[in-house]
């Protein structure tokens, strides 16, 4: 599998805090890549660097061989590189269906299309995706009144509605009821296999990420601590130490 995202030598500091130091990694096209690490290790910072939320201090980020480290958020999103937020961002005043319809891929719309109405197909896809994440029953509820976990699911459905090439998910299972987590793993895998979306996932739940990812990177203190297949990472003493705080 070829690399669709190539990060090389990326550094990012906030004042004195070195959130990312000389990070290099790749995301394989069509696969599921995991990113783990203790709280504050710089995972979200790396996501933000990739999708253009802040300028990086050094290094290069390439998407399909194109340098994107100087591009702006909407430009990168329009390449089909999408992210969800750790804190979850949905349009709280609108109902679920409206949230879905806003998420149609605007990058594929001409201005003429934008001045048209949503098609019957858009509506159908919106409902299908809501069904896919298990929110069909709640489709006419104001999305701001959903629980945090449901909002996470809605944001995931919105991302799928956008037909991304690569989807960066920041802790998709955080706040999801443990009994629903297996269902979510299944959906993430289907998004990958059925819709062909490359996934890059930050996750604290080891069981989840070990189950899904083809390859896992582990950050600690802003540095790349380890990388490898799930079974390699699982047995890596450095990773175990990092999580147990023996560092």
């Amino acid at each position: 599998m070829s690399a669709i995202i190539e990060v090389s030598g990326v550094s990012k500091s906030f004042g004195g805090v070195k959130a990312n130091a000389d990070i290099s990694m790749t995301v394989a096209e069509g696969g599921i890549t995991g990113l783990i690490g203790p709280n504050g290790s710089g995972k979200t910072t790396l996501f933000n660097s990739i999708v253009g939320y802040h300028p990086i201090d050094a290094g290069s980020i390439r998407f399909r061989s194109q340098e994107i480290s100087r591009m702006l958020v909407p430009e990168i999103a329009r390449l089909g590189l999408l992210r969800t937020f750790q804190q979850t961002r949905i349009y709280g005043a609108m109902n679920c269906v409206e949230n879905m319809l806003i998420s149609i891929p605007h990058r594929k719309l001409s201005l003429m299309d934008a001045f048209g109405r949503n098609t019957a197909e858009d509506h159908e896809r919106a409902l299908h995706m809501l069904e896919f994440v298990g929110l069909y029953e709640k489709r006419f509820l104001q999305s701001g009144s959903l629980s945090f976990g449901q909002q996470k699911l809605l944001e995931f459905a919105m991302a799928l509605m956008n037909e991304p090439t690569v989807l960066l998910l920041d802790e998709p299972t955080a706040g999801i009821n443990p009994t629903l987590i297996n269902g979510l793993i299944d959906r993430l895998q289907r998004a990958n296999s059925e819709f062909g979306i490359t996934l890059f996932i930050i996750e604290h739940n080891m069981r989840v990420i070990m189950n899904m990812a083809d390859k896992i990177y582990c950050l600690a203190h802003g540095q790349m601590l380890a990388e490898g297949r799930p079974d390699e990472i699982q047995d890596d003493q450095r990773v175990i130490d990092a999580y147990l705080g023996a560092h």
């Binding site: 999103a77 990058r107 934008a114 709640k138």
Partner: protein, 347 residues
């Protein structure tokens, strides 16, 4: 459209057409009502629907007035000489020249203001929240000062439009219908616009612009287009005002930041931000209130108006339509039950 709606819209349209004959003594007030509806509806396009509260839309009103004046005068006479004479010379307009000026002037005003919105927006849309409001206000204030020092268009003295070639009562009627037609077109336009994907996208910008950007929505492009469309209608309304007022000054009339510039915002707040009918209802409420206080509480009218603004801002932030939505959610298609309506699914 349902039969109920059809009856409602039909009645309102009939009323619009008949109003100057039903209330022949109130033609000017009715015309002003339509002006308020137009500026309120246009303000709400950015303020209510897109979340960008401009305090500078009066810029487009004033600029529309001047563009209309320059075009109307310019197609017949030399503008510099005309303003130099400031009413002293003999300048006459034929019917044809007058209406040609009106048509071209109004169109040019709208287009020029749309272009201005594009350029100003390019700079000011980097600003958020109160900074955008103040930034746009600054543009309007600066423009008023600049124009009042520009002798070619009459400077601080202002500029005079040609007199209507027919009789005065007919003139009032013409002005009323011009506003009304523009207002009806604008209402139909936004009613359509808010149903499109574009409309949904500007709502997304209002609710969470960062999220909209992250989803790849062309935020800057959509913001510029929205403001340009809004500016077009304000500019065209300004052009009609120029013909209506005949003589106008830059600071007191054209770029009147504290009167009309604020009134349009008050109308929207009264009626309800971000709703289709809010600005219309608000403009009616405002106009009735204003006429009443100006007639019956003369001397206290500004106090009454100030009090009204305070009451609305403190107690009715969502305006009339917001209150109605709270009282009658079912009228707005809000369903609290979630398990109904398998049939309504693909509405």
């Amino acid at each position: 459209m349902s039969a109920k709606k059809l009856v409602l819209y039909g009645t309102l349209l009939a009323l619009t057409i008949a109003a100057p004959f039903l209330f022949p003594n109130f033609k000017t007030q009715l015309a002003t009502l339509w002006l308020m509806i137009i500026v309120a509806l246009s303000w709400d396009m950015t303020g209510g629907q897109m979340g960008y509260n401009s305090l500078g839309n009066i810029f487009f009103y004033g600029t529309g007035m001047y563009v209309a004046a320059v075009v109307t005068i310019g197609i017949v006479y030399d503008v510099g000489e005309y303003t130099q004479a400031s009413g002293g010379g003999i300048y006459v307009w034929t019917w044809g020249q007058y209406f040609a000026g009106m048509a071209l002037g109004t169109l040019a005003a709208g287009l020029f203001c749309a272009l201005c919105a594009f350029l100003i927006g390019w700079i000011t849309f980097g600003l958020r929240g109160p900074y955008f409001a103040i930034g746009t206000l600054g543009v309007a204030i600066a423009a008023g000062e600049l124009v009042s020092n520009w002798e070619w268009v009459g400077g601080g003295q202002g500029i005079s439009m040609p007199n209507y070639p027919g009789d005065f009562d007919q003139f009032k009627l013409v002005i009323y219908y011009l506003y009304a037609v523009l207002g009806v077109i604008l209402f139909m336009f936004v009613a359509w616009l808010y149903q499109t994907r574009f409309g949904a996208a500007i709502n997304a910008i209002r609710d969470d612009e960062g999220k909209a950007e992250a989803m790849g929505i062309h935020t800057l492009r959509y913001k510029l287009i929205t403001w340009a469309m809004s500016a077009f209608f304000v500019g065209a309304a300004g052009a009609i005002s120029a013909f209506q007022l005949i003589h106008f000054e830059p600071l007191e009339t054209a770029y009147q930041t504290i009167n009309l510039g604020i009134f349009m915002v008050v109308c929207v707040l009264l009626g309800g931000k971000g709703t289709l009918w809010g600005p219309v209802v608000g403009a009616v409420m405002f106009q009735v209130f204003k006429e009443a206080t100006w007639n019956y509480f003369l001397g206290w009218q500004w106090v009454a108006l100030g009090a009204l603004i305070v009451v609305v801002v403190v107690f009715f932030q969502d305006g009339f339509m917001g209150w109605l939505r709270y009282k009658r959610p079912e009228w707005f298609g809000i369903r609290v039950e979630s398990k109904d309506a398998a049939t309504e699914g693909a509405s």
